[in-house]
Amino acid sequence: MNQSIKPLASADLYHRCAPEKLGFRTTDELEDISGFIGQQRAVESIEFGTNIRRAGYNVFVFGPPGAGKHTLLRHHLNESAVALPVPVDWCYVNNFSTPHKPRALSLPSGRANGFREDMERLIGDLKAAIPAVFESEEYGARRQALVDEFKEYQESEFNALRERANEKNVALIHTPQGFALAPMEDGQVITREDFDKWTADRQKEVRTRIQGLENQLQETMRKVPLWERDHRKKLRQLDYEMTRYAIGHSMNELRSSYDALTQVLEYFDEVERDLLENYDDFLAAREPASPQMAIAIAVRNQFSGPPSFRRFQVNVIADHAGADRAPVIHEDMPKHATMFGRIEHLAQFGALTTDFNLIKPGALHEANGGFLVVDARKLLTQPFVWEELKRALQSREIRIQGLYEAMGLPSTVSLDPEPIPLDLKVLLVGEPMIYYLLSSLDPEFKTLFKVAADFEYDTSRNDESTELYARLIGRLARQQKLKPLDAPAVARAIEHASRLAADGEKLTLRVGLIDDLLTEADYWAGQSKLSIIGAKEVQKAIDAATRRADRLRERSLEQIRRGDVIIDTEGAIEGQVNALSVVSLGDFSFGKPSRITARVRLGQGKLVDIEREVELGGPLHSKGVLILTGYLGEAYARGFPLALAASLVFEQSYAGVDGDSASSSELYALISAISQVPIKQCFAVTGSVNQRGQVQAVGGVNEKIEGFFDLCRARGLSGDHGVLIPAANVKHLMLRGEIVEAVDRGEFSIYPVETIDQGIEILTGKPAGEPGEGGVFPEGTVNYLVQRQLAEFAILARAAAGDKNDANEESAG
């Protein structure tokens, strides 16, 4: 037996943080940490990405959950935003020439709401001023004069005709159907009877006269539409003049307030033109002056709706009144509408209608000129948002369109608002997998998100980082308004940070998990009516969190204890070894012992992985098993064929198995099965192996050890129980206190192994054996027995092959 492999001392099992070395009594004494621990690379990336104001230099921030990505971004962006100017305001106004294409107006920051109020005030004033002008005596008199002038002119024309007719003894009479012409005498139309008494010549002569007058009457009537047109023109000119007078003062006052803003002044010109053309809307808004007018208004309203002043409203899309920096927007619901804005509709008489007042801004409008932070996963799971965001960043403008339009489907009558120029830095926050997938699958991604901010998972644990970590814990406690922690509590939290990093020489940078731990410790301190959080409360928070999450772990352990799952923890058995696996349940994971068995027979060098055969084994597991063939051939059968058939199985495993951390266990089982040397069941094993027999580091070593310890303790620790781990994993050990104590008492052992031979000696209690000349192992060693058995298999195989050849020759002969 190789006496050099000693179990680990308790000090190697847990990287303790000494409270006395922290140098403070409570976290109240600690200064806030100014930056972020261990994230310098990410900070530099974010600084670069946010400071470079070039197209395409948007930032993708990725890292583990709880690493403080959002906190760091908020902190940094708030600082960066101060250095940037406050962006201009934006609003949508009516496009009077093409109303379905609302105009986008920009105003100096903070002036959009004032502009809206000014327009509201203008229309409010005009609602009084325009009717007042049209109700004035002056207007009434001038209009009446025009009407009278027109009527008089018409009358005079017809009267002149009537007089000419009367001179020729023809009556011109106004009837309901029009003007009638007939012969008359003494001012009376001649009766039919009297007319019939006339001579034919006289009748003919009067007919000719009437015909002539009829022509003149028609000629006059043909002029009526022209007179009416001229009359309407004069009335319109009068109305125009009165409206101009009514609106002139208010419009000029407004123009003087915005005299440097060309776009706004152009808009005012359009407003003025519309007011002059549609002044009657302001009159219709008043009570109708007569029943006839009321009927006319009702009819008009039925077909075209009441006059609306909505077209003069200002729809403020972005207003930065009171802002002293560029906006920083965190959009936590990145739907199409919330990102790019939407156009709402109103139901009117069963139809959906809309106008520019129903345009609603999105996050891009709010963040324009500053920064927009969006969760990448949420964004990518919303339909068409990713494509639309790329389009907006490429074209550098925000175009509002509904989802239907984005999909190219027909929709209800909608608007096509003028796009708003976009000057924005987008920061997507997500997981590394999303970043890598986008990088490889979306060719546009890297042209738009040129900067990657990659967050670290953990940082090295040393005196300097320990001190910073203590200050970080102090800051978190203050930020969350928690009770201060004493030094032992901080030390315990730091130790837990190493456990979370799964490495005694590292500290996790998933600050969110530490934040949760402190919050829960604060709760337990509160329950105990303490004003300071101690190590006991921190431990209680850890234990309680474990307790809340470990129902499945308990069930698993119970199944083994009750014999439902068969795991031996005493005795020695050929071809059977206790392996260790990790079950991950989100943030909680636990170790679970499994039995691996191996069976061998004469064969053709094929190793059957039963897990793979039934498709329960993953590719990494299969790889580990195939490596074993290489090792067996190299170590034992260099001079003869490997005439072995072996099968390996995870007993009572009903779920998938992956990873190669059980490959050393499988090799031990095979060696035991071939050599027929039993393996001690008081041990469990973890570690992967290479073709040279070196044992390599694996993940989850703490959980695996704890899983086997829990089983052994439940059955009673005998002092023989222990776990073989790769020596490379020793630095990762951060085991529970009760294991450390058990090791201290000699009740449990942990062996760091570097080679398979070391493991064989511990598991079998026999020497493994070193190869001599010709690769032959000395007798009395496990390896000798393996080699001898494999050689026998080779001879048997050769003999079997010779018999078969003889039989073939005989049958041929």
């Binding site: 009527k151 159907q177 009638a180 012969p183 139309v189 028609q218």
Partner: protein, 286 residues
């Protein structure tokens, strides 16, 4: 017109009122006024519709031609349509008067005549104390100017005439045009009998002439009113400035201008101007 009874001191009495009807808005207003006066004076009211013989002759005429308005299309007259129009016109005029009378609890008679409109109206009106008619007929005229029948009635009607128009406020006081002649004394009686907002005062426009100075006219009015317990407020109006009379009537809130039909200063063009410019009804007393 209000239903209040005429004051006892009034010497102006109405027993039979004739109202000339057609379907115009002015005639409608005239019907309202006639029924109001009938209630006030406990008089009988009778409507009159004249089928224009010229229109009837026109419809039957073999050489009659019609030029449609506004299209200017020429054609023959449609006798059936014209007759239907006259019948409908008559029916709606009668219905309008009955509606107004029923509302005030009166029964109104209705007579249909055929002939020249003005002469038939004047002939029928000779049987009544007062002829009420609208300022213009259905075809209307510009600037509220009187129609031919109203003008003829103002000048030639045998008895007193009330020429009514639309849009008149029933409140206010009558304005008497006083020239000192016998006719204007009669007009004073009529003015007193009309409803007034201020029961103790009567407004008088003094129209001086060579025969009567303003002072004389004023004294005459005060004398006439003294035994009736009434006061008068005066305004002077020269015959050549009759438009001032209308302006004063409009500004003072006048419900009717009352004048003597045969006043020499209120004949011809002067009367026409008052008819055209006055923004209130005109009562011509004969």
């Amino acid at each position: 017109m209000p239903t209040k009874k005429a004051p006892a001191e009034a010497k102006f009495a109405l027993h039979r009122i004739m109202v000339a009807m057609d379907s115009s808005v002015h005639a409608q207003a005239a019907a309202e006024a006639a029924v109001g006066l009938a209630v006030r004076f406990e008089a009988v009211v009778e409507g009159l519709f004249v089928e224009d013989v010229n229109l009837i002759n026109l419809a039957e005429h073999p050489v009659g031609r019609l030029v449609s308005f506004p299209s200017g299309m020429a054609g023959t007259l449609d006798r059936g349509a014209l007759e239907r129009y006259i019948r409908n016109e008559c029916r709606s005029a009668q219905r309008a008067l009955e509606t107004v009378a029923n509302r005030r609890g009166l029964r109104a008679g209705f007579r249909i005549l055929r002939g020249r409109v003005d002469s038939e109206i004047f002939a029928a009106a000779s049987e009544a104390d007062l002829l009420v008619l609208g300022l213009a007929g259905r075809s209307g005229s510009s600037r509220g100017r009187p129609g031919s029948v109203a003008l003829a009635a103002a000048e030639r009607a045998p008895g007193s005439v009330l020429i009514y128009r639309t849009g008149v406020s029933p409140s206010g006081n009558p304005l008497l045009c006083f020239d000192g002649l016998h006719g204007s004394v009669k007009a004073l009686d009529a003015a007193i009998s009309l409803p007034r907002e201020n029961n103790h005062e009567i407004r008088v426009a003094l129209i001086p002439s060579e025969a009567f100075t303003v002072t004389a006219l004023r004294e005459r009015v005060e004398e006439l009113l003294s035994d009736r317990g009434l006061n008068a407020s005066f305004v002077e109006c020269a015959p050549q400035n009759l438009d001032q009379l209308c302006k004063f009537a409009a500004s003072a809130g006048t419900n009717a201008i009352v004048l003597a039909a045969k006043s020499p200063v209120l004949q011809g063009e002067g009367l026409r101007r008052i008819l055209a410019d006055a923004n209130c009804p005109l009562l011509l007393v004969r």
